[in-house]
Amino acid sequence: MTDFDAALTTVDTRTEIETPENVTLSFNLAGPGSRMSAYLIDLLIRVAVFWGLSTALTSLIPVLGGGLPIGGLLLGMFVLEWGYSTLFEAFWRGQTPGKRVYGLRVLKDAGYPIGFYDSVLRNLLRAADFLPFGYGAALVCMTATGRLQRIGDLAAGTIVVRDVRHRFERHTELFEKLEPIQPTECSGTFAVSERTLDTIEQLLARRERLPKRRVEELAEILARPVAAKLGFVLDDDPQIDRHEHFLRRVLRTFAMTPGRDAA
């Protein structure tokens, strides 16, 4: 499918890459907002480094004379202007400090790390992307391509992705001690899809970070259809976490392999 077709079918910030192992990996593309923010952080860093460099070098003028310090400062400006992003992205696994703050990373469009030439190319072409002012060309180009690429990205074959580390933790302690639901308690289908169980697990995993009442509100939204499908009658027990409690029992019943104790 070409990017154009993709853009017609879905407007999405995900992109899929097929690896040589025939697995489809999906990446979250970074949009103009986070990339601009990362750019501004980098800009601040560059200004700060320039300020530090000029202060340090001017203080050397009485010792060394004007020549070397000022020449060095001009050279430093050159490196900050053209080399900052290039060198960081080439030697710091596709990230600049700004990109790191926002969890962005530059990758080749086949999903592997960028090389030195890729980095030079995409960063030199900033001069074209910047035109007519404030990265106007980049913005137009990004909206016109399916994978949010600016001109430099197109030429270097790179994409910028959100590099979020997802963790996977089970919270069996939340339900393993509970009493399973018995088939006799239910009048409907005695099964819950793995996907629903996963959603319940994700909600319970977040319970420490949410107010108790909110957890119960969300639990109710989840619990009603699950209970309806099972044909389980939720009692009118005034207990504050009755829906949450029910969901835990659902996990205990369906998410644990029969006969297995806590792993």
Binding site: G111, Y117, A128, H166
Partner: protein, 380 residues
């Protein structure tokens, strides 16, 4: 197998994989032992299987997101390219770059024409009628130029210390200014090559006018004495960066048998290498221009001779380094079987060049371009 059993059974492998990848990510060069690398790659393949299983069974987003992230990190680690070394830099600058430039000679000649012809015309006109210079240069600028070149640099004023101070400042200035111009000249080629052409013609007319003006006012010999040395690297490098921009622009306008996107990626790699070569040349030029060209201790004759030699050096390096003709002198016998003729390749054909073979010593222009395009493949 239920999701629960699956997780229980596989989780320890995922943890192990996560640790190994984290270890590998720490360093640019992988510091894992052979056994660990074998383990990593085995775990990676198993993980790929796990991910497709989770995806096909719809076992929930938290699990597939987690495994997706792990596979992505593994993919990223296992498929990264070999880190470069100092030798690759040296090889590129001594032979790789000239070969690549010759493979794209047509672009270079076009850029050269754009950079020379407008300047030659305006320069000739201004030379015969210096008053025309006012159309390009302001009066103040003209006066400054004239005072700068009124005397031979060898006899010009200024104590030695002052000169020395100014030189280092100028070295920094030339690097920032000239390399900046050449990078911009290259990058603006992304707009169908038009930006590159504008910059080449603009600079050509400006330089041509200054040259013509100074010759017309009778300061030509002082000017030549100053510019002949660094001009070799500097002027050639601007034309090279122009060629790089045109390569990029041409890929957009006329991608040939590839899609525009593919053409841009393929030719982009060539163009950026040319731009890097041009930048390296300009840094050499900046050193010459700052420390040698204005030196009052070197007599004019020496500068002219040295300047001439520098031109020969640049021309010889760009047209011969790494070439068949040069290699032929040293190892004629070994080259006998290749006999693909003299360099051709207007650049557009380079991707479709001769079959690869053992490319230890690329012999013709098109072969050179071929090996250059090979280099961009990820080292797996």
């Amino acid at each position: 197998m239920t999701r629960d059993q699956f997780i229980t059974r596989r989780q320890q492998h995922w943890r192990r994989f996560e640790n190994l990848v984290a270890e590998a990510e720490e360093h640019r060069r992988v510091r894992l032992s052979g056994d660990e690398i074998a383990e990593l790659s085995a775990l990676y393949r198993a993980l790929c299987f796990d991910l497709s299983l989770v995806q096909s069974r719809d076992w929930g987003t938290s699990l597939s997101r987690y495994l997706n992230g792990l596979v992505a990190r593994g993919h990223n680690t296992l498929y990264r390219s070999r880190p470069g070394s100092l030798m690759t830099v040296v090889d590129f600058l001594t032979t790789g770059f000239p070969k690549l430039l010759r493979a794209n000679a047509a672009y270079f000649l076009l850029a050269l024409a754009l950079f020379v012809v407008p300047g030659a015309i305006s320069g000739t006109a201004v030379c015969y009628d210096p008053s025309l210079a006012g159309r390009i240069l302001s009066g103040g600028h003209q006066a400054m130029m004239e005072s700068m070149y009124a005397d031979s640099v060898s006899e010009s004023l200024g104590s030695d210390d002052e000169m020395a101070e100014g030189r280092s400042i100028m070295a920094g200035f030339y690097v920032r200014n000239n390399v900046g111009i050449s990078f911009r000249c290259f990058a603006l080629g992304a707009f169908a090559g038009i930006g590159t052409m504008v910059i080449l013609v603009y600079n050509s007319i400006a330089l041509g006018t200054i040259t013509g003006f100074l010759i017309g006012r009778g300061h030509g010999d002082n000017f030549l004495e100053f510019v002949i040395g660094h001009g070799s690297f500097e002027l050639t490098a601007i034309a090279v960066s122009g060629a790089a921009g045109l390569v990029l622009g041409h890929a957009m306008v006329h991608p040939g048998r590839l899609s525009r996107r593919e053409a841009l990626i393929e030719r982009g790699m060539v163009s950026v290498k040319l731009a890097i070569g041009a930048a390296a040349m300009l840094m050499v030029a900046a050193l010459i221009e700052a420390y040698w060209s204005p030196s009052p201790h070197v007599p004019r004759e020496v500068k002219l001779v040295a300047g001439g030699l520098l031109w020969l050096l640049v021309i010889g390096w760009l047209s011969l380094a790494g070439s068949e003709r040069l290699a032929g002198l040293t190892a004629a016998a070994r080259q006998a079987e290749s006999g693909t003729g003299t360099e051709s390749g207007t650049g557009t054909e380079s991707g479709t060049g001769t079959e690869s073979g053992t490319a230890e010593s690329p012999t013709s222009g098109s072969r050179a371009a071929h090996s250059a395009s090979d280099e961009r493949e990820p080292a797996e």
